[in-house]
Amino acid sequence: MTSQTTSKGHTLADLVQHDRVHTSLYTDPAIFEDEMEKVFANTWVWVAHASEIPEAGSYKTGYIGRQPVVTVRDRKQQVHVLLNRCRHRAATVCEGHKGKTNSFVCPYHGWSYSLDGALRGVPSPESYGDLLDKADYPLVKLRVEEYAGMIFATFKDDIEPLVDFLGPAKKWMDLFMKQGGGFPIKVGGEHRFRFPGNWKIQLENTTDAYHFPLVHKSFLSSVDKQTEEMLDFVEGPGFVEDLGNGHSVMVMIPDLVDLEANLDAPIPERFAALAEELRADYPEDQVRRIVRAVGGSGFNLNIFPNIACSMAFFRVLRPVSVTETEIHHAVITMDGGPEAGNRARLRMHEHFQGPMGFGTPDDSEAWERVQKGSNAGTDQWILLNRGLAKEQETADGRRSDVSAETGMRAAYRQWKKLMTA
């Protein structure tokens, strides 16, 4: 958008108010174009978990906004995030989702790059005479920083350090990583799916406890009584907290915030068989630690704009167009941990997540209907005032009840800051 005024006569700043956002945030293609520059090319964006590129030469392709990138570990174990584009005539130099390579070779004319992006070889260079200095044409490299195994990149050389951007979210990331149960965390595969709707609808959903008992009724009917009671949290003691910079945490099950606490509590019935199986190989204290970790954390941490640490998995969102979004739900396993524990994690993930899960398709249907309904009316608003009445200031930001829309308000405040800067 070249102008700051939309077709309805609102300024971009007017579109986000403290208790509502304008529907055009879901539907206006010009706003989407603007977001690619002002949000995705203008802040820290998550690209990978360290376990996805475990060795020298391991790579993962992906996108920052709509720009294809490669995240790669070089021979000195340093991680690089490179634009996936040959410096000659722009062809991508790496295809495939994940893998291992010695170098990146453009398939079009054979220009080759080392793992750190340096241009190494140009076939038949004579034609260039002295016009081409290879040092001038490495793959374009983004700034990369890592916290708790989470790798982020940015186009902005002058942006604040990642740890400052994350701020109070860091302690929740540390808590989330405890679900390794004493082992390092490893991404053990992912479900990838698309839905016909704007990316911010999914961003909101990770911090929306209000929908859970209704949208996920069929999932709740498929679990044991104890689990169903555990997930009955909408009127419970949990909370949502705005952590600044667009980040927020939604604590649904306060007992499961710290997976290394309460290890003496009785093992839930649904994990009794797993615990018994683990006792053959592990002492009782370790069995309890692993079993509690297998169940996952009791909170969702939303990190603006594209990653969430969500109970037992990573949720990654990728904007495709103003009305299409791709979601990845990456399962978390224990690297080197017991196979039985990891199998339990995989089966739990399959139960709820992905295009054939008992949960995701119903979320997807709800989001699709939000997008469809957003075409109604000419100048309507999306309400975000739930929980505002009881919102309190805290040391880290502000907090309200578990089904408050505090996390959404946090995300839109950051959106507004970036979009109107």
Binding site: H97, S218, E339, M356, D362, E365
Partner: protein, 162 residues
């Protein structure tokens, strides 16, 4: 080529397809061995289903829960239910040890729900246990693996049993 076995196996698989397209889930559940597994992998070349993430890896309990969910009216993604028509063809017996028979075939499935018509193509691999029922020689399903052609891509949600 054992044409009789090929006919028996393909007749059984066509009947199963017809049950799924017509929502005869109680009959479908009865086709299974108790320890049977229904699997939809993510990587079409995967063989270690237990230790990898799948779209579905259903034992008897999960198959029953999946069927119950489809008919419960509690799930907005399956109300209204998608309509499906699937064709199965290109049957080939891969192995037969006298007790179990492994059969591979192609499935072309068309789905319609609300305003959207979708197409999913898959290789199906069945491990069938020979049995005798009231109508004579038949099979029980020990394993069914649905390898979607585009399984490794980002899919859209699937609100039925492919």
């Amino acid at each position: 080529m054992n044409i009789e076995l090929l006919n028996q196996a393909s007749a059984f698989i066509c009947q199963e397809a017809d049950m799924l397209d017509h929502g005869e889930y109680a009959e479908w559940l009865a086709l299974w061995e108790d320890k049977g597994l229904y699997i939809v992998p993510i990587n079409p070349d995967e063989t270690d289903f237990a230790n990898t993430l799948n779209y579905a890896c259903d034992d008897a309990k999960m198959r029953n829960l999946r069927v119950a969910r489809l008919g419960s009216g509690e799930s907005i993604s399956t109300s209204p239910a998608p309509r499906t028509i699937r064709s199965v063809s290109r049957f080939r017996v891969l192995a037969d040890d006298g007790t179990t028979v492994t059969v591979r075939c192609a499935q072309n499935l068309r789905e319609f729900r609300k305003e959207i018509h979708k197409h999913y193509t898959a290789n199906l691999t069945y491990t069938l246990v020979r049995t005798v029922d009231a109508e004579g020689d038949s099979f029980r399903i020990q394993q069914k693996v649905v390898r979607l052609l585009n399984a490794s891509d980002a899919l859209q949600c699937i609100g039925y049993i492919p």
